[in-house]
Protein backbone atom coordinates (compact mmCIF):
# COMPACT_ATOMS: atom_id res chain seq x y z
CA UNK A 1 0.00 0.00 0.00
CA UNK A 2 2.83 2.33 0.95
CA UNK A 3 4.45 1.64 -2.40
CA UNK A 4 1.26 2.58 -4.25
CA UNK A 5 0.95 5.80 -2.32
CA UNK A 6 4.54 6.70 -3.16
CA UNK A 7 3.88 6.04 -6.83
CA UNK A 8 0.70 8.13 -6.81
CA UNK A 9 2.45 10.94 -4.96
CA UNK A 10 5.33 10.88 -7.44
CA UNK A 11 2.86 11.00 -10.27
CA UNK A 12 0.98 13.89 -8.74
CA UNK A 13 4.18 15.82 -8.12
CA UNK A 14 5.28 15.11 -11.71
CA UNK A 15 1.91 16.22 -13.02
CA UNK A 16 2.08 19.39 -10.91
CA UNK A 17 5.56 20.21 -12.22
CA UNK A 18 4.41 19.46 -15.75
CA UNK A 19 1.35 21.67 -15.32
CA UNK A 20 3.46 24.46 -13.84
CA UNK A 21 5.88 24.30 -16.79
CA UNK A 22 2.94 24.31 -19.20
CA UNK A 23 1.41 27.28 -17.41
CA UNK A 24 4.70 29.20 -17.51
CA UNK A 25 5.15 28.39 -21.18
CA UNK A 26 1.69 29.75 -21.89
CA UNK A 27 2.54 32.93 -19.98
CA UNK A 28 5.76 33.16 -21.95
CA UNK A 29 3.95 32.76 -25.26
CA UNK A 30 1.11 35.15 -24.51
CA UNK A 31 3.31 37.98 -23.30
CA UNK A 32 4.96 40.61 -25.47
CA UNK A 33 8.41 39.06 -26.10
CA UNK A 34 10.16 42.41 -25.87
CA UNK A 35 8.51 43.34 -22.59
CA UNK A 36 9.47 39.99 -21.07
CA UNK A 37 13.10 40.94 -20.74
CA UNK A 38 12.04 42.86 -17.65
CA UNK A 39 10.33 39.86 -16.01
CA UNK A 40 13.01 38.02 -14.01
CA UNK A 41 11.00 34.81 -13.47
CA UNK A 42 10.05 34.30 -17.08
CA UNK A 43 13.50 35.40 -18.17
CA UNK A 44 15.15 32.75 -16.00
CA UNK A 45 12.68 30.12 -17.14
CA UNK A 46 13.14 30.91 -20.84
CA UNK A 47 16.91 31.15 -20.75
CA UNK A 48 17.25 27.91 -18.79
CA UNK A 49 15.10 26.03 -21.27
CA UNK A 50 16.46 27.81 -24.33
CA UNK A 51 20.09 26.92 -23.75
CA UNK A 52 19.78 23.16 -24.45
CA UNK A 53 17.71 23.89 -27.53
CA UNK A 54 20.37 26.29 -28.74
CA UNK A 55 23.07 23.69 -28.14
CA UNK A 56 21.17 21.05 -30.11
CA UNK A 57 19.97 23.14 -33.04
CA UNK A 58 22.09 26.29 -33.37
CA UNK A 59 25.49 25.50 -31.87
CA UNK A 60 26.46 23.29 -34.81
CA UNK A 61 26.97 26.49 -36.85
CA UNK A 62 27.15 29.32 -34.30
CA UNK A 63 29.28 27.38 -31.81
CA UNK A 64 28.39 26.47 -28.23
CA UNK A 65 29.17 30.00 -27.07
CA UNK A 66 27.36 31.59 -30.02
CA UNK A 67 30.53 33.29 -31.20
CA UNK A 68 30.04 32.29 -34.85
CA UNK A 69 32.77 31.62 -37.36
CA UNK A 70 34.08 34.33 -39.66
CA UNK A 71 35.72 31.83 -41.97
CA UNK A 72 32.36 30.21 -42.62
CA UNK A 73 30.41 33.46 -42.55
CA UNK A 74 28.44 32.49 -39.46
CA UNK A 75 27.49 35.56 -37.45
CA UNK A 76 28.69 36.15 -33.91
CA UNK A 77 25.57 36.26 -31.73
CA UNK A 78 27.40 37.71 -28.77
CA UNK A 79 28.71 40.96 -30.22
CA UNK A 80 25.45 42.92 -30.17
CA UNK A 81 25.75 43.66 -33.90
CA UNK A 82 22.60 42.56 -35.70
CA UNK A 83 22.47 41.91 -39.40
CA UNK A 84 18.73 41.32 -39.48
CA UNK A 85 16.42 43.39 -37.31
CA UNK A 86 17.47 45.24 -34.22
CA UNK A 87 18.28 42.34 -31.90
CA UNK A 88 14.91 42.46 -30.13
CA UNK A 89 13.59 39.11 -28.89
CA UNK A 90 10.79 39.36 -31.48
CA UNK A 91 13.34 39.82 -34.29
CA UNK A 92 15.44 36.88 -33.11
CA UNK A 93 12.32 34.76 -32.76
CA UNK A 94 11.31 35.58 -36.32
CA UNK A 95 14.69 34.44 -37.64
CA UNK A 96 14.55 31.19 -35.67
CA UNK A 97 11.02 30.54 -36.93
CA UNK A 98 11.43 31.23 -40.62
CA UNK A 99 15.18 31.43 -41.14
CA UNK A 100 17.14 33.47 -43.62
CA UNK A 101 17.01 32.64 -47.33
CA UNK A 102 15.50 29.32 -46.35
CA UNK A 103 13.03 29.14 -49.26
CA UNK A 104 10.21 29.50 -46.75
CA UNK A 105 7.57 31.97 -47.94
CA UNK A 106 8.03 33.96 -44.73
CA UNK A 107 11.78 33.72 -44.60
CA UNK A 108 13.96 36.85 -44.48
CA UNK A 109 15.13 36.94 -48.08
CA UNK A 110 14.91 40.43 -49.49
CA UNK A 111 18.47 40.81 -50.67
CA UNK A 112 21.57 38.89 -51.69
CA UNK A 113 25.08 40.22 -52.12
CA UNK A 114 25.70 40.01 -55.90
CA UNK A 115 28.85 38.34 -57.20
CA UNK A 116 30.34 41.32 -59.06
CA UNK A 117 33.19 39.21 -60.37
CA UNK A 118 30.83 36.89 -62.24
CA UNK A 119 29.25 37.37 -65.68
CA UNK A 120 25.80 37.53 -64.06
CA UNK A 121 26.21 39.02 -60.57
CA UNK A 122 22.62 38.34 -59.54
CA UNK A 123 20.63 35.98 -61.77
CA UNK A 124 17.42 37.40 -60.29
CA UNK A 125 18.29 40.95 -61.35
CA UNK A 126 19.68 41.40 -64.87
CA UNK A 127 20.18 45.13 -64.23
CA UNK A 128 23.16 44.45 -62.00
CA UNK A 129 26.31 44.37 -64.11
CA UNK A 130 29.75 42.93 -63.31
CA UNK A 131 32.61 45.14 -62.18
CA UNK A 132 36.21 45.11 -63.37
CA UNK A 133 38.88 44.06 -60.84
CA UNK A 134 40.15 47.64 -60.70
CA UNK A 135 36.69 48.91 -59.87
CA UNK A 136 36.42 46.38 -57.04
CA UNK A 137 39.79 47.58 -55.75
CA UNK A 138 38.49 51.16 -55.80
CA UNK A 139 35.38 50.15 -53.87
CA UNK A 140 37.56 48.42 -51.28
CA UNK A 141 39.63 51.57 -50.79
CA UNK A 142 36.40 53.54 -50.34
CA UNK A 143 35.17 51.06 -47.72
CA UNK A 144 38.47 51.15 -45.87
CA UNK A 145 38.29 54.95 -45.80
CA UNK A 146 34.74 54.76 -44.44
CA UNK A 147 36.01 52.48 -41.68
CA UNK A 148 38.68 55.01 -40.78
CA UNK A 149 41.48 52.75 -42.01
CA UNK A 150 44.39 53.64 -44.24
CA UNK A 151 43.30 53.88 -47.87
CA UNK A 152 44.47 55.17 -51.22
CA UNK A 153 42.76 58.56 -51.51
CA UNK A 154 42.39 58.66 -55.29
CA UNK A 155 41.08 55.10 -55.47
CA UNK A 156 38.71 55.78 -52.56
CA UNK A 157 37.24 58.76 -54.42
CA UNK A 158 36.69 56.66 -57.52
CA UNK A 159 35.20 53.96 -55.29
CA UNK A 160 32.83 56.48 -53.68
CA UNK A 161 31.51 57.44 -57.11
CA UNK A 162 31.06 53.80 -58.02
CA UNK A 163 29.39 53.03 -54.69
CA UNK A 164 26.80 55.72 -55.18
CA UNK A 165 26.59 55.20 -58.91
CA UNK A 166 27.03 52.37 -61.36
CA UNK A 167 27.83 49.62 -58.85
CA UNK A 168 24.58 50.37 -57.03
CA UNK A 169 25.93 49.38 -53.60
CA UNK A 170 23.97 52.21 -51.97
CA UNK A 171 20.76 50.50 -52.96
CA UNK A 172 21.15 47.94 -50.15
CA UNK A 173 23.91 49.32 -47.93
CA UNK A 174 22.49 52.91 -47.91
CA UNK A 175 24.27 56.03 -49.08
CA UNK A 176 26.18 56.37 -45.82
CA UNK A 177 27.24 52.66 -46.09
CA UNK A 178 25.74 51.99 -42.67
CA UNK A 179 23.59 49.18 -44.05
CA UNK A 180 19.96 48.32 -43.59
CA UNK A 181 18.91 45.79 -40.97
CA UNK A 182 15.47 45.51 -42.57
CA UNK A 183 16.98 43.59 -45.49
CA UNK A 184 20.09 42.20 -43.83
CA UNK A 185 22.52 44.56 -45.57
CA UNK A 186 25.51 44.90 -43.23
CA UNK A 187 26.98 48.14 -41.97
CA UNK A 188 30.17 48.57 -43.98
CA UNK A 189 31.62 51.32 -41.83
CA UNK A 190 32.11 49.41 -38.59
CA UNK A 191 34.81 46.96 -37.58
CA UNK A 192 32.46 43.96 -37.61
CA UNK A 193 33.27 41.56 -40.40
CA UNK A 194 30.96 38.66 -41.21
CA UNK A 195 33.24 37.00 -43.75
CA UNK A 196 36.97 36.86 -43.22
CA UNK A 197 39.22 39.27 -41.37
CA UNK A 198 38.22 42.49 -43.09
CA UNK A 199 41.42 42.52 -45.14
CA UNK A 200 41.53 43.74 -48.74
CA UNK A 201 41.69 40.13 -49.90
CA UNK A 202 38.62 39.13 -47.88
CA UNK A 203 36.68 42.17 -49.11
CA UNK A 204 37.65 41.39 -52.70
CA UNK A 205 36.36 37.85 -52.31
CA UNK A 206 33.04 39.08 -50.86
CA UNK A 207 32.49 41.59 -53.66
CA UNK A 208 33.70 39.33 -56.48
CA UNK A 209 32.02 36.12 -55.33
CA UNK A 210 28.96 37.47 -53.59
CA UNK A 211 27.47 36.29 -50.32
CA UNK A 212 24.17 34.71 -49.43
CA UNK A 213 24.28 32.87 -46.14
CA UNK A 214 21.43 30.66 -45.05
CA UNK A 215 19.89 30.12 -41.63
CA UNK A 216 17.39 27.27 -41.37
CA UNK A 217 13.78 27.82 -40.31
CA UNK A 218 12.91 25.86 -37.21
CA UNK A 219 9.16 26.32 -37.26
CA UNK A 220 8.64 22.75 -38.39
CA UNK A 221 11.04 21.33 -35.83
CA UNK A 222 10.66 23.35 -32.62
CA UNK A 223 7.48 24.17 -30.70
CA UNK A 224 6.35 27.77 -30.41
CA UNK A 225 7.55 27.80 -26.81
CA UNK A 226 10.86 26.25 -27.82
CA UNK A 227 11.40 28.94 -30.44
CA UNK A 228 10.70 31.70 -27.94
CA UNK A 229 12.93 30.12 -25.33
CA UNK A 230 15.75 29.80 -27.85
CA UNK A 231 15.22 33.43 -28.88
CA UNK A 232 15.50 34.43 -25.24
CA UNK A 233 18.68 32.47 -24.82
CA UNK A 234 20.20 34.14 -27.88
CA UNK A 235 19.08 37.51 -26.55
CA UNK A 236 20.71 36.72 -23.21
CA UNK A 237 24.10 35.88 -24.73
CA UNK A 238 24.03 39.03 -26.82
CA UNK A 239 23.21 41.24 -23.84
CA UNK A 240 25.54 39.86 -21.23
CA UNK A 241 26.08 43.28 -19.68
CA UNK A 242 22.49 44.10 -18.88
CA UNK A 243 20.79 40.73 -18.98
CA UNK A 244 21.41 37.95 -16.53
CA UNK A 245 19.59 34.67 -16.42
CA UNK A 246 20.06 34.33 -12.68
Amino acid sequence: MRFTIVIILAFLIGAAVFAEIGQTERRLLRADPDALTADPDLRRFAVRRGQPLFLVHCAVCHGAAGAGDRIKGVPDLTDGDWLYGGGRVADIERIIEYGIRFRHPKTWSLAVMPAYGQPQPNPADPNIHPLAPGQIDDLIEFLLRQQGREANAAAASRGAALYAGDAGCYDCHALDAKGDAAIGAPNLTDAVSLYGDGSREALFLSIAQGRQGVCPAWIMTLSAAGIRETAFYVYSISHREGFHAD
Binding site: T4, I7, V60, G73, A90, P105, P133, L205, P216
Partner: protein, 301 residues
Protein backbone atom coordinates in the same frame (compact mmCIF):
# COMPACT_ATOMS: atom_id res chain seq x y z
CA UNK B 1 10.38 -16.72 17.36
CA UNK B 2 8.09 -14.45 15.30
CA UNK B 3 4.46 -14.43 16.27
CA UNK B 4 1.78 -15.51 13.82
CA UNK B 5 0.84 -11.90 13.35
CA UNK B 6 4.39 -10.98 12.45
CA UNK B 7 4.66 -13.92 10.06
CA UNK B 8 1.55 -12.82 8.24
CA UNK B 9 2.85 -9.27 8.10
CA UNK B 10 6.26 -10.39 6.77
CA UNK B 11 4.65 -12.46 4.05
CA UNK B 12 2.04 -9.89 3.17
CA UNK B 13 3.41 -9.49 -0.35
CA UNK B 14 2.05 -12.99 -0.99
CA UNK B 15 -1.40 -12.08 0.35
CA UNK B 16 -3.71 -12.48 -2.71
CA UNK B 17 -6.03 -9.77 -1.49
CA UNK B 18 -3.20 -7.22 -1.18
CA UNK B 19 -1.55 -8.27 -4.44
CA UNK B 20 -4.82 -7.80 -6.31
CA UNK B 21 -5.32 -4.36 -4.81
CA UNK B 22 -1.81 -3.31 -5.77
CA UNK B 23 -2.25 -4.63 -9.30
CA UNK B 24 -5.43 -2.68 -9.70
CA UNK B 25 -3.85 0.45 -8.29
CA UNK B 26 -0.88 0.19 -10.65
CA UNK B 27 -3.15 -0.56 -13.57
CA UNK B 28 -5.30 2.45 -12.73
CA UNK B 29 -2.23 4.61 -12.36
CA UNK B 30 -0.92 3.45 -15.72
CA UNK B 31 -4.26 4.19 -17.31
CA UNK B 32 -4.35 7.66 -15.75
CA UNK B 33 -0.82 8.44 -16.96
CA UNK B 34 -1.61 7.13 -20.43
CA UNK B 35 -4.83 9.06 -20.69
CA UNK B 36 -3.20 12.21 -19.33
CA UNK B 37 -0.40 12.04 -21.88
CA UNK B 38 -2.82 11.27 -24.69
CA UNK B 39 -5.10 14.13 -23.64
CA UNK B 40 -2.21 16.53 -23.34
CA UNK B 41 -0.88 15.59 -26.75
CA UNK B 42 -4.33 15.68 -28.28
CA UNK B 43 -5.06 19.21 -27.15
CA UNK B 44 -1.68 20.82 -27.40
CA UNK B 45 0.01 19.47 -30.49
CA UNK B 46 0.37 21.98 -33.33
CA UNK B 47 -2.56 22.23 -35.70
CA UNK B 48 -5.01 20.23 -33.61
CA UNK B 49 -8.60 21.41 -33.22
CA UNK B 50 -9.34 22.86 -29.85
CA UNK B 51 -12.00 24.91 -28.14
CA UNK B 52 -9.48 27.18 -26.51
CA UNK B 53 -6.98 29.26 -28.43
CA UNK B 54 -3.48 27.80 -27.98
CA UNK B 55 -0.99 30.08 -26.31
CA UNK B 56 1.12 30.40 -29.48
CA UNK B 57 -1.85 31.68 -31.48
CA UNK B 58 -4.00 34.78 -31.38
CA UNK B 59 -7.13 33.31 -32.90
CA UNK B 60 -8.67 30.19 -34.36
CA UNK B 61 -10.69 30.60 -37.52
CA UNK B 62 -12.67 27.44 -38.18
CA UNK B 63 -10.02 25.72 -36.07
CA UNK B 64 -7.22 27.13 -38.22
CA UNK B 65 -4.71 28.93 -35.99
CA UNK B 66 -3.46 32.45 -36.61
CA UNK B 67 0.06 32.55 -35.27
CA UNK B 68 0.94 35.04 -32.55
CA UNK B 69 4.35 35.48 -34.10
CA UNK B 70 2.80 36.46 -37.44
CA UNK B 71 0.50 38.83 -35.58
CA UNK B 72 3.46 40.53 -33.89
CA UNK B 73 5.36 40.73 -37.18
CA UNK B 74 2.40 42.32 -38.95
CA UNK B 75 1.90 44.76 -36.11
CA UNK B 76 5.54 45.75 -36.43
CA UNK B 77 5.35 45.99 -40.22
CA UNK B 78 2.16 48.03 -40.37
CA UNK B 79 2.56 50.30 -37.38
CA UNK B 80 6.19 49.93 -36.33
CA UNK B 81 5.22 49.03 -32.76
CA UNK B 82 5.55 46.01 -30.53
CA UNK B 83 2.65 44.46 -28.69
CA UNK B 84 2.98 46.48 -25.52
CA UNK B 85 3.08 49.78 -27.42
CA UNK B 86 0.27 49.01 -29.86
CA UNK B 87 -3.06 50.69 -29.25
CA UNK B 88 -6.16 48.50 -28.88
CA UNK B 89 -7.32 49.88 -32.23
CA UNK B 90 -4.08 48.82 -33.93
CA UNK B 91 -4.28 45.35 -32.44
CA UNK B 92 -7.91 45.00 -33.50
CA UNK B 93 -7.16 46.19 -37.01
CA UNK B 94 -4.28 43.75 -37.49
CA UNK B 95 -6.26 40.87 -36.04
CA UNK B 96 -9.24 41.67 -38.26
CA UNK B 97 -7.00 41.77 -41.31
CA UNK B 98 -5.51 38.39 -40.43
CA UNK B 99 -8.91 36.83 -39.78
CA UNK B 100 -10.16 38.21 -43.08
CA UNK B 101 -7.17 36.73 -44.88
CA UNK B 102 -7.71 33.35 -43.23
CA UNK B 103 -11.39 33.35 -44.16
CA UNK B 104 -10.54 34.13 -47.77
CA UNK B 105 -7.87 31.44 -47.84
CA UNK B 106 -10.36 28.93 -46.52
CA UNK B 107 -12.89 30.04 -49.12
CA UNK B 108 -10.20 29.67 -51.76
CA UNK B 109 -9.67 26.08 -50.67
CA UNK B 110 -13.41 25.44 -50.87
CA UNK B 111 -13.44 26.85 -54.39
CA UNK B 112 -10.44 24.68 -55.24
CA UNK B 113 -8.53 27.64 -56.66
CA UNK B 114 -5.43 25.48 -56.94
CA UNK B 115 -6.97 23.72 -59.90
CA UNK B 116 -7.42 26.93 -61.91
CA UNK B 117 -5.21 29.73 -60.59
CA UNK B 118 -1.60 29.49 -61.82
CA UNK B 119 -0.30 31.63 -58.96
CA UNK B 120 -1.92 29.41 -56.35
CA UNK B 121 -0.55 26.34 -58.11
CA UNK B 122 2.90 27.88 -58.22
CA UNK B 123 2.72 28.78 -54.53
CA UNK B 124 1.67 25.21 -53.71
CA UNK B 125 4.52 23.74 -55.73
CA UNK B 126 6.98 26.04 -53.94
CA UNK B 127 5.54 25.10 -50.57
CA UNK B 128 5.85 21.38 -51.30
CA UNK B 129 9.41 21.86 -52.53
CA UNK B 130 10.20 23.65 -49.29
CA UNK B 131 8.74 20.78 -47.33
CA UNK B 132 10.94 18.38 -49.26
CA UNK B 133 14.11 20.45 -48.96
CA UNK B 134 13.71 21.25 -45.27
CA UNK B 135 15.78 18.38 -43.96
CA UNK B 136 18.58 19.10 -46.44
CA UNK B 137 18.85 22.74 -45.41
CA UNK B 138 18.44 22.16 -41.70
CA UNK B 139 21.04 19.39 -41.52
CA UNK B 140 24.58 20.65 -41.04
CA UNK B 141 27.01 18.39 -42.95
CA UNK B 142 30.25 17.53 -41.23
CA UNK B 143 33.44 19.26 -42.30
CA UNK B 144 34.79 15.95 -43.63
CA UNK B 145 31.73 15.59 -45.88
CA UNK B 146 32.20 19.11 -47.19
CA UNK B 147 35.90 18.56 -47.76
CA UNK B 148 35.07 15.47 -49.80
CA UNK B 149 32.59 17.47 -51.85
CA UNK B 150 35.17 20.23 -52.32
CA UNK B 151 37.74 17.68 -53.49
CA UNK B 152 35.26 16.09 -55.91
CA UNK B 153 34.46 19.40 -57.64
CA UNK B 154 37.75 21.27 -57.99
CA UNK B 155 36.51 23.20 -61.04
CA UNK B 156 33.82 24.99 -59.01
CA UNK B 157 36.07 26.59 -56.43
CA UNK B 158 38.36 28.73 -58.50
CA UNK B 159 39.00 32.46 -58.29
CA UNK B 160 38.33 34.02 -61.68
CA UNK B 161 41.50 34.86 -63.61
CA UNK B 162 42.40 38.50 -64.27
CA UNK B 163 44.22 39.81 -67.34
CA UNK B 164 45.34 43.16 -68.66
CA UNK B 165 45.90 42.69 -72.38
CA UNK B 166 46.39 45.22 -75.18
CA UNK B 167 44.94 44.28 -78.54
CA UNK B 168 46.83 46.07 -81.32
CA UNK B 169 45.20 46.13 -84.74
CA UNK B 170 47.14 46.55 -87.99
CA UNK B 171 46.00 46.78 -91.60
CA UNK B 172 46.24 43.47 -93.49
CA UNK B 173 48.88 44.80 -95.88
CA UNK B 174 51.29 45.34 -92.95
CA UNK B 175 51.48 41.58 -92.33
CA UNK B 176 54.90 41.13 -94.02
CA UNK B 177 56.40 43.87 -91.85
CA UNK B 178 54.96 42.30 -88.68
CA UNK B 179 56.65 38.98 -89.20
CA UNK B 180 59.55 38.33 -86.92
CA UNK B 181 60.51 36.99 -83.53
CA UNK B 182 58.37 37.40 -80.39
CA UNK B 183 60.90 39.90 -79.10
CA UNK B 184 60.63 41.93 -82.30
CA UNK B 185 56.83 41.93 -82.08
CA UNK B 186 57.00 42.96 -78.44
CA UNK B 187 59.26 45.84 -79.41
CA UNK B 188 56.82 46.79 -82.17
CA UNK B 189 53.73 47.01 -79.93
CA UNK B 190 55.54 48.76 -77.11
CA UNK B 191 57.22 51.44 -79.20
CA UNK B 192 54.84 54.26 -80.15
CA UNK B 193 56.90 55.37 -83.17
CA UNK B 194 56.88 51.89 -84.67
CA UNK B 195 53.17 51.54 -84.03
CA UNK B 196 52.53 54.76 -85.91
CA UNK B 197 54.75 53.71 -88.78
CA UNK B 198 52.91 50.41 -89.15
CA UNK B 199 49.50 52.10 -88.80
CA UNK B 200 48.83 50.14 -85.66
CA UNK B 201 46.09 51.20 -83.27
CA UNK B 202 44.48 49.85 -80.09
CA UNK B 203 41.35 47.94 -81.07
CA UNK B 204 39.65 49.33 -77.93
CA UNK B 205 38.27 45.93 -77.09
CA UNK B 206 39.86 45.76 -73.66
CA UNK B 207 40.27 48.35 -70.93
CA UNK B 208 42.81 47.69 -68.17
CA UNK B 209 42.40 44.75 -65.77
CA UNK B 210 39.56 42.47 -66.67
CA UNK B 211 38.21 39.23 -65.33
CA UNK B 212 38.68 36.35 -67.74
CA UNK B 213 34.96 36.15 -68.47
CA UNK B 214 34.89 39.83 -69.45
CA UNK B 215 38.03 39.52 -71.58
CA UNK B 216 36.49 36.49 -73.33
CA UNK B 217 33.40 38.55 -74.18
CA UNK B 218 35.41 41.57 -75.30
CA UNK B 219 38.10 39.78 -77.34
CA UNK B 220 36.02 36.93 -78.71
CA UNK B 221 36.81 33.24 -78.30
CA UNK B 222 39.69 33.08 -80.79
CA UNK B 223 41.72 36.00 -79.41
CA UNK B 224 40.91 35.10 -75.80
CA UNK B 225 42.15 31.53 -76.27
CA UNK B 226 45.51 32.92 -77.42
CA UNK B 227 45.60 35.67 -74.79
CA UNK B 228 45.04 33.42 -71.79
CA UNK B 229 48.18 31.44 -72.61
CA UNK B 230 50.40 34.51 -72.91
CA UNK B 231 52.74 35.17 -70.00
CA UNK B 232 53.14 38.70 -68.68
CA UNK B 233 55.24 40.91 -70.98
CA UNK B 234 54.79 38.64 -74.02
CA UNK B 235 53.32 39.47 -77.43
CA UNK B 236 51.37 37.03 -79.56
CA UNK B 237 52.11 36.12 -83.14
CA UNK B 238 50.10 38.14 -85.70
CA UNK B 239 46.50 36.84 -85.87
CA UNK B 240 44.63 37.51 -89.09
CA UNK B 241 40.93 38.21 -88.62
CA UNK B 242 38.36 39.83 -90.87
CA UNK B 243 39.05 43.30 -89.45
CA UNK B 244 42.83 43.17 -89.81
CA UNK B 245 45.92 41.78 -88.11
CA UNK B 246 45.79 41.53 -84.32
CA UNK B 247 48.80 41.38 -82.05
CA UNK B 248 48.09 40.84 -78.35
CA UNK B 249 50.42 42.18 -75.72
CA UNK B 250 49.95 40.83 -72.20
CA UNK B 251 50.57 43.39 -69.48
CA UNK B 252 49.34 41.23 -66.59
CA UNK B 253 47.95 37.72 -66.51
CA UNK B 254 46.74 36.21 -63.25
CA UNK B 255 45.60 32.70 -64.01
CA UNK B 256 42.52 31.32 -62.25
CA UNK B 257 43.63 29.91 -58.91
CA UNK B 258 41.92 27.28 -56.83
CA UNK B 259 40.37 28.70 -53.67
CA UNK B 260 41.46 26.94 -50.52
CA UNK B 261 38.77 25.18 -48.52
CA UNK B 262 38.37 27.94 -45.95
CA UNK B 263 37.77 30.60 -48.60
CA UNK B 264 35.47 28.38 -50.59
CA UNK B 265 33.56 27.13 -47.54
CA UNK B 266 30.35 29.22 -47.92
CA UNK B 267 30.05 28.24 -51.57
CA UNK B 268 30.89 24.59 -50.86
CA UNK B 269 28.14 24.48 -48.21
CA UNK B 270 25.61 26.12 -50.55
CA UNK B 271 26.51 23.80 -53.43
CA UNK B 272 26.37 20.75 -51.18
CA UNK B 273 22.95 21.71 -49.86
CA UNK B 274 21.66 22.50 -53.34
CA UNK B 275 22.74 19.09 -54.52
CA UNK B 276 21.08 17.43 -51.52
CA UNK B 277 17.89 19.38 -52.21
CA UNK B 278 17.89 18.36 -55.86
CA UNK B 279 18.39 14.73 -54.88
CA UNK B 280 15.53 14.91 -52.38
CA UNK B 281 13.26 16.59 -54.92
CA UNK B 282 14.07 13.97 -57.53
CA UNK B 283 13.40 11.19 -55.00
CA UNK B 284 10.09 12.68 -53.96
CA UNK B 285 9.01 13.27 -57.53
CA UNK B 286 9.84 9.69 -58.37
CA UNK B 287 7.82 8.49 -55.36
CA UNK B 288 4.84 10.70 -56.28
CA UNK B 289 4.92 9.47 -59.85
CA UNK B 290 5.10 5.86 -58.69
CA UNK B 291 2.04 6.11 -56.49
CA UNK B 292 0.05 8.33 -58.88
CA UNK B 293 -2.35 7.12 -61.50
CA UNK B 294 -1.23 9.11 -64.54
CA UNK B 295 -2.92 8.45 -67.87
CA UNK B 296 -1.53 10.11 -70.97
CA UNK B 297 -3.52 10.80 -74.11
CA UNK B 298 -2.90 8.39 -76.96
CA UNK B 299 -1.42 11.03 -79.26
CA UNK B 300 1.18 12.09 -76.69
CA UNK B 301 2.36 8.68 -75.58
Amino acid sequence: MPTDHEQVKAGSWRDPLQVNRRSFALMALGAIIGLSLAGYSLFTVRGVSSLSVPAEDVALVNQQPISRSDFLALLQTLYGVDLSHATPEQRRQVLNDMIREELFVQRGKELDLASVDPEVRSALVNAVELEISESAITAQPSEATLRDFYAQHPERYVAEGIMNVRDWLFPVDELPRLAGSQEALKATVTTPDVLVRLHGRDSGKTIGDEFYFAARIHLGEQLFAIARELPEGAASSPITLSDGIHVLYMVKNTQPARLDFAKAYPKVLTDYRNRAIEQLKAGDESFLRKRANVRIADDLR
